[in-house]
């Protein structure tokens, strides 16, 4: 009897979980689905509110990659910028978070407060002085003029999240490795880092995506297509006149920049997690 009750409960739990899964998927994906559907409609039908395109067409995608468009180039630029931002932020962020979570030093709370305060100013107030500074340095229209501000935008979140995760680690393991003769850096890399992979990985995704979606700085700093990222390229899409909002093209571009990102995350998720975990076990 108790077995049956248990099974019923489990079955009910599974069904509930499935339902909950479904709800999450609908909530997250329905608007995106509408974006995909809209992107497949030819201009004449774009506002017809049909849930499926009557005459599916790739004309919007052709417009995204069409002649005179530098979208492929823009994708490459976005990749370079976002990857650099992620790598730099994560490396120096891990250093900082290690210090904040692990080391005893005066002013720790001050430093944490400083990182937080750096996320409290409206972005536009920062823009003009940075532009003038970079203009003096001859940095306008370079990758670094976008990468370094983006690193600045992502570090506060990155450092705080990493500090939280590092603080929750079982540091006794690290101490044990140290007594076994490992240097602090070895102990950290082989013991703590593998354990904090979910946190590090999540932070990296969040940083990558915010860099990928950054527009304000990029719009000011980049002037030619050879350094412009996708957000700036999308802002240049137009219809046949200055009043025409190229909704279909913008939606197609949105799909084009979002889907690879998600696939990338899926792939990396497996690779990185399995890779690092394996390394950790071996080390």
């Amino acid at each position: 009897m108790s077995t049956t009750a248990h099974e019923v409960r489990r079955w009910g739990g599974t069904a509930g979980l499935l339902l909950a899964n479904g709800l999450v998927l609908v909530f997250c994906l329905a608007p995106f689905g509408w974006m995909v559907v809209s992107s497949l409609k030819p201009p004449a039908e774009i506002f017809d509110n049909r849930l499926l395109p009557a005459n599916p067409s790739l004309v919007n995608y052709a417009a995204v990659f069409g002649s005179g468009s530098d979208f492929t180039l823009a994708l490459r630029n976005s990749l370079v910028i976002s990857a650099s931002v992620t790598v730099i932020s994560m490396v120096i962020g891990v250093f900082a978070a290690y210090a904040l979570a692990r080391l005893k030093f005066r002013g720790r709370n001050l430093v944490l407060g400083f990182f937080l305060a750096m996320s409290m100013f409206p972005g536009v107030a920062i823009l003009s002085p940075v532009f003038q500074l970079f203009a003096d340095w001859g940095w306008i229209n370079t990758y670094q003029s976008m990468i370094i501000p983006d690193v600045g935008f992502s570090l506060p979140l990155g450092v705080w999240v990493l500090t939280t995760f590092f603080a929750a680690m079982p540091w006794e393991l690290e101490a044990a490795a140290r007594t076994d003769g490992a240097t602090p850096s070895q102990a950290f890399r082989h013991v703590i880092l593998p354990l904090s992979v979910p946190g590090v990985f999540t932070t990296a995704i969040l940083v990558f995506i915010s860099a990928w979606n950054e527009f304000m700085v990029a719009n000011s700093m980049s002037q030619t297509p050879d350094v412009q990222p996708v957000t700036v390229a999308i802002a240049k899409f137009t219809g046949v006149s200055q009043f025409d909002q190229p909704f279909g093209t913008q939606m197609a571009a949105g799909v084009v920049v979002t889907v690879p990102l998600v696939i990338l995350v899926l792939l990396f998720q497996r690779r990185i997690i399995s890779g690092l975990t394996a390394g950790g076990v071996k080390g």
């Binding site: 001050l110 407060g113 003009s128 532009f131 203009a135 001859g138 000011s220 219809g239």
Partner: protein
């Protein structure tokens, strides 16, 4: 507690950093004038708005072939005017010479000129009698010329000639025509009434058409607190209240209103000439069923607001002489003909509106010429952005019914005087 200390620490370290930076910041490379062309000449950069037809390249190629040492490179900016303006402002504030010639919306020219960002131009060298005087006005500030009008724009009244054989010339005639001919699925009239620059344009037309104005001609005093301005705004508010303007129109920008007309949901539409092409296209519900006329007014046709683009030369340009030659080239008869024929834009040259060949291509040109010659520029003031915001927010509140027309005009007047006072 801890946070306050943090800020102090941050301030101190940033102060040190500032000193380091000013010590290590390199200077900008000096202008090289080894070309032998004389001062102020050499390659220039033209920061352009979106080139919708990709025909600008033809103009560039032609110029660059004739001027191999003074080539023009075009940088196409974001399609959104706000983004374009932000990019210009950043460069001006940094005194950057990256942009030599800029594509300035007619309402920006005064703002830029008043801040010393633009090079004054020689009235004699640019334009001449054929350039539409209303377009030239947009480029003038404090008695000096700061831009070369490149393209202009004025509104037309699109109407359903299959339902209304004679277009109305006054608001009263237009409402009467709707009472008589409107079908149930249509609404009478729409312009652009969302809270953005388009609402300023529409409100200005209603106010100007009734004999009122927002500011005096020199932009230095507030003129809106008048019975005429109230009457003008009242026209739109009444139409909104009694359903002559549909309630959806409070969200309309150019495109939403164009769609309503092209899908056959509107009897009368106030919009720019660009609607003509899509309304006449094969998939339009109103193909061969529409005509163009002047905007309605109180006792006769009204007065359109003026749109368009001025080409301006940056005060920080290193090659100003070449820049001036380029904008003169862009204003030349030949280029302007190309602008109408290939780029589908409204020329600043009056004679082209009488050209039979161009009229055959764009039959609305004679009406547009009338609309342009009777148009009223939007207020020309160094504080245009604050001025348009005062107009938009109060006109919007009145249209929505949140404020009476009287209150909206009173508030507008006080906000306008605050805006131009600083």
């Amino acid at each position: 507690m801890t946070f306050r200390k943090t800020r102090l620490a941050a301030c101190a370290s940033a102060g040190i950093l500032t000193m380091l930076l000013s010590a290590c910041g390199g200077g900008t490379p000096a202008a090289s004038d080894d070309s032998g062309l004389g001062p102020g000449r050499g390659p220039i950069v033209f920061a352009s708005g979106k080139d919708f037809t990709a025909e600008m390249n033809t103009l560039l190629a032609k110029w660059n072939e004739a001027h191999p040492q003074e080539t023009v490179k075009m940088l196409e900016l974001s399609a959104s005017p706000d983004d374009q303006r932000a990019s210009f402002v950043q460069n001006f504030q940094a005194k950057s010479s990256a942009y030599d010639v800029l594509w300035s919306d007619v309402v920006w020219t005064s703002e830029f000129a008043s801040r010393g960002w633009l090079e004054p131009l020689d009235k004699a060298a640019l334009g001449g009698p054929d350039i539409l005087p209303t377009a030239v006005q947009t480029a003038e500030y404090d008695g000096k010329l700061y831009g070369a009008p490149f393209i202009t724009n004025a509104a037309l009244l699109f109407y359903r000639k299959d339902l209304v054989p004679e277009p109305p010339t006054t608001w009263a005639e237009m409402w009467a025509a709707c009472d008589e001919h409107l079908t149930p699925e249509m609404s009478c009239y729409a312009g652009q009434f969302a809270q953005y620059e388009g609402l300023t344009v529409n409100a200005a037309e209603a106010v100007n058409g009734a004999g009122g104005a927002f500011l005096s001609d020199d932009g230095k005093t507030v003129a809106v607190d008048s019975p005429e301005a109230r009457a003008g705004l009242q026209t739109l508010v009444d139409a909104m209240k009694n359903g002559k303007i549909s309630k959806d129109a409070i969200t309309y920008k150019e495109e939403e209103s164009r769609r309503a007309f092209v899908e056959g949901r509107l009897m009368f539409l106030r919009n720019w000439p660009y609607v003509y092409t899509s309304a006449g296209a094969a998939d339009s519900a109103v193909k061969d069923k529409f005509g163009t006329a002047l905007l309605p007014g109180v006792n006769g046709p009204g007065s359109s607001s003026l749109g368009g683009i001025d080409l301006v030369v940056s005060a920080f340009s290193k090659h100003k002489e070449t820049a001036k030659d380029w904008i003169a080239f862009m204003q030349s008869e030949e280029t302007q003909r190309f602008v109408v024929a290939k780029m589908n834009q409204a020329s600043v040259r009056a004679a082209l509106y009488d050209d039979p060949e161009l009229i055959a291509q764009s039959p609305y040109l004679p009406t547009l010429k009338q609309s342009l010659t009777t148009a009223t520029p939007r207020p020309r003031t160094a504080d245009y952005n604050a001025v348009t915001l005062a107009v938009q927010t109060n006109a919007y509140a009145a249209l929505q019914g949140g404020k009476s027309v009287d209150q909206a005009i009173t508030d507008m007047a006080s906000q306008l005087s605050a805006a131009i006072a600083q």
